[in-house]
């Protein structure tokens, strides 16, 4: 979820930026094709609602629900604050790993897996730069006016982390049970699990590349790819005997790297 996701956003940003300048190439330029803007957001505040879905999931999956307030300083530049909640969960792969690793007693020393932090509440403020204004001919007579933009900003988020390795109270090793379920085959009957949990509040950086399609006078639809970036943190050199006895073990990874949560956001905007 880290380097791979980052590549997606970086490549799109780089190429879009280059495209703008490349548009000056002779033969493509037209002195006044879309120079006149039908929609001019400058000076208008804006409210937006968005839902974010994960582009790809490895060990965690996030579903973002955000509210944004923006003020358009110019037609091409706006400041925006976004806040919301990300519903997150472990993927089936993470659950499968946790269950099978309980019984893998030949592995006495190991490290925690990367990218297991799950974001919940978050708030960021940033700048939206929309250098591209265009028209798309959907069918012969239906124009779609759009802006393409880059978004960058930062803020804070609350995070939780549930280990898939450290079970402090193994209930059934063979069946991979580390909770108080009443039925062995039904994890839904569990009220509490014994995996090691952590929580924290940490800085978050976010960047996005998106399109805003104008609809009527005040409405709009946004499509964007957004990357939420935060510093990872996990422990290494864990001893199985210690964690299964409920003792803290290992030390923090010296260079944990960054975690990227790449989302596809679908949003609605209303301009006042």
């Amino acid at each position: 979820m880290k380097a791979r996701s980052f590549r997606v956003l970086t490549s799109l940003l780089a190429t879009l930026t280059a495209l703008g300048a490349a548009a000056q190439e002779e033969g493509v330029l037209d002195s006044a094709v879309v120079r006149n803007r039908l929609y001019r957001p400058a000076g208008h505040p804006e409210l937006s609602l968005s839902v974010g879905l994960p582009v790809q999931t490895h060990l965690t999956a996030h579903y973002f629900f955000d509210v944004g307030l923006a003020y358009n300083l110019f037609d091409t530049l706006a400041v925006e604050a976004r806040a919301g909640y990300a519903a997150s969960r472990h993927t089936g792969l993470a659950r499968s790993i946790s269950e099978s690793f309980l019984d893998r007693q030949d592995k006495k020393i190991t490290d925690e897996l990367e990218d297991l932090w799950q974001m919940n509440f978050h708030g960021v403020a940033g700048v939206r730069w929309a250098p591209v204004y265009g028209k798309l001919s959907l069918v012969s007579d239906i124009p779609a006016h759009f802006q393409a933009y880059l978004w960058a900003g930062g803020g804070v988020g609350s995070f939780k982390r549930k280990s898939v390795i450290q079970c402090s109270h193994v209930v059934d090793r063979t069946a991979g049970v580390c909770d108080d379920r009443t039925s062995l085959d039904d994890r839904g009957t569990a009220r509490e699990d014994f995996w090691v949990h952590e929580t924290r509040v940490a800085p978050v950086v976010s960047g996005a590349l998106g399109f805003r399609f104008f609809i009527l006078d005040k409405h709009g639809v946004k499509l964007e790819v957004r990357d939420w970036i935060f510093r990872d943190s996990y422990r290494v050199n864990l001893l199985r005997d210690d964690w299964e006895a409920g003792r803290e073990t290992g030390e923090k990874a010296p260079s944990p790297g960054l975690t990227h949560l790449v989302q596809f956001d679908l949003g609605y905007t209303f301009s006042f």
Partner: protein, 397 residues
């Protein structure tokens, strides 16, 4: 492992960046169409709808030579064969703020018969014609050949695998919005992902063989359609036209699987670095769907930014042509230190790949038999989606 894909990514952006540098300093070329006369600097700051208000504000044109249809919109999805690509008429000075030109100042233009040229059945400057939505395409694709080079194709959804390659496509545009396509791709980097290696290292789990199959190369035939096109302004002073491209195809691709990662081999006090070893897992059926943008520069060049999903069926029951029974026979012979020449193996099994010693690294190939057997011990199958970002440029002729 992580730095290599990032370097490849930077390489991906090079064509676009290079064009961006070349493009500086170019002067815009005026083009025909009613929007050419629209002033660049608006007065009103509030969004306004885009009604064709011109007929109310403009006196009837003097166009006796042409018989017009009543109010109708001009469909501009294809270049008109009888219309020139660019008109020499310079754009008049700005006079209005919204998307509708102030046609009251354009009266004299309509007296020019050349400007009354029919485009799809209606004249460009007819006051009774709706404002053109998107200017007609300036360059025709129909009948043209297009060769597209994608210097770097980078996989985006590399959960268990990473691929970076180069692709070459040929498109013949049968019609303005439809073409046939031949596509070839070679992945000069294909390896298991950092995530998969992390699972192996930390929890002794890994993706099934079929899920971590690597695509070496692929060839396809297919079609390409360009249902939409549009235009955009960059910072109000640079304009470009683009097409939305959709494509699909089918073909064949060669696959392989990692048998053993790179290791250090110590022999007689000397350490040899043994490169990773891959096993051939056969040629698979390949399909693809994709979409993206084509940004045209002049009549002969364009930049393409696309995302394609290569789908291929993956069933791993043989590695280097050897099945599970072949590996078991070889393993038994290896344990007994017997030659493989007497073994009765299946016809396609490349036994020489698992026998002998590499003269450079002193690595005994027989040590890889057990690794190959593990791959086919539990035959696995999957349908893989290799979603990649394609950045390239093309030449039309």
């Amino acid at each position: 492992m992580r730095t290599f894909p990032r370097l490849a990514l930077l390489f991906t952006a090079l064509p676009a960046l290079a064009l961006a540098q070349v493009s500086s300093g170019e002067q815009p070329v005026p083009a025909p169409g009613p929007e050419s006369a629209i002033p660049p600097e608006p007065v009103s700051a509030s969004p306004q709808p885009e009604p064709p208000r011109a007929p109310r504000e403009r006196p009837p044109p003097v166009t006796p030579a042409i018989q017009h249809a009543p109010v109708r919109a001009i469909e501009a999805s294809a270049p008109a064969p009888d219309a020139p690509v660019a008109m020499p008429t310079p754009a008049p000075p700005p006079a209005s703020a919204d998307d509708t030109p102030d046609l009251s100042s354009e009266g004299p233009r309509t007296t020019d018969a050349s400007q009354q040229r029919l485009v799809n059945g209606a004249p460009l400057y007819d006051p009774n014609v709706n404002v053109h939505i998107v200017q007609k395409k300036r360059f025709a694709d129909e009948g043209h050949h297009e060769v597209v080079l994608y210097p770097a194709v980078v996989q985006l959804n590399g959960k268990y695998t990473n691929h970076v390659g180069t692709a070459l496509h040929y498109v013949y545009h049968l019609q303005e919005n439809f073409g046939v396509q031949l596509a070839g791709q070679y992945n000069w980097y294909s390896d298991e992902s950092h995530f998969n290696l992390e699972l192996i290292d930390k929890v002794r789990e890994q993706a099934q063989a079929a899920s971590s199959l690597l695509l070496q190369w692929g060839v396809q035939a297919g079609v390409e359609v360009t249902p939409l096109y549009g235009k955009f302004a960059f910072l109000n002073n640079s304009l470009a036209q683009f097409s939305v491209v959709l494509s699909g195809g089918a073909g064949l691709g060669a696959t392989r699987h990692l048998i053993r990662p790179a290791v250090a081999n110590e022999v007689d006090g000397q350490t040899f670095q043994v490169p990773a070893r891959y096993g051939d897992t056969g040629t698979k059926f390949l399909g693809s769907v994709g979409g993206g943008f084509r940004l045209q520069f002049g009549e002969s060049y364009s930049i393409r930014l696309e995302v394609r999903d290569l789908l291929y069926t993956a069933r791993v029951d043989k590695v280097d042509g050897c099945s599970l029974s072949d590996f078991e026979a070889m393993e038994t012979a290896r344990a007994g230190n017997q030659p493989f020449s007497d073994l009765k193996l299946s016809g396609g099994c490349k036994v020489e790949k698992f026998d002998g010693v590499d003269p450079k690294t002193k690595k005994n190939y027989r040590e890889d038999i057990i690794l190959g057997r593990d791959l086919v011990a539990e035959p696995s199958s999957d349908v893989l989606n290799n979603v990649s970002f394609y950045a390239g440029f093309s030449i039309l002729f």
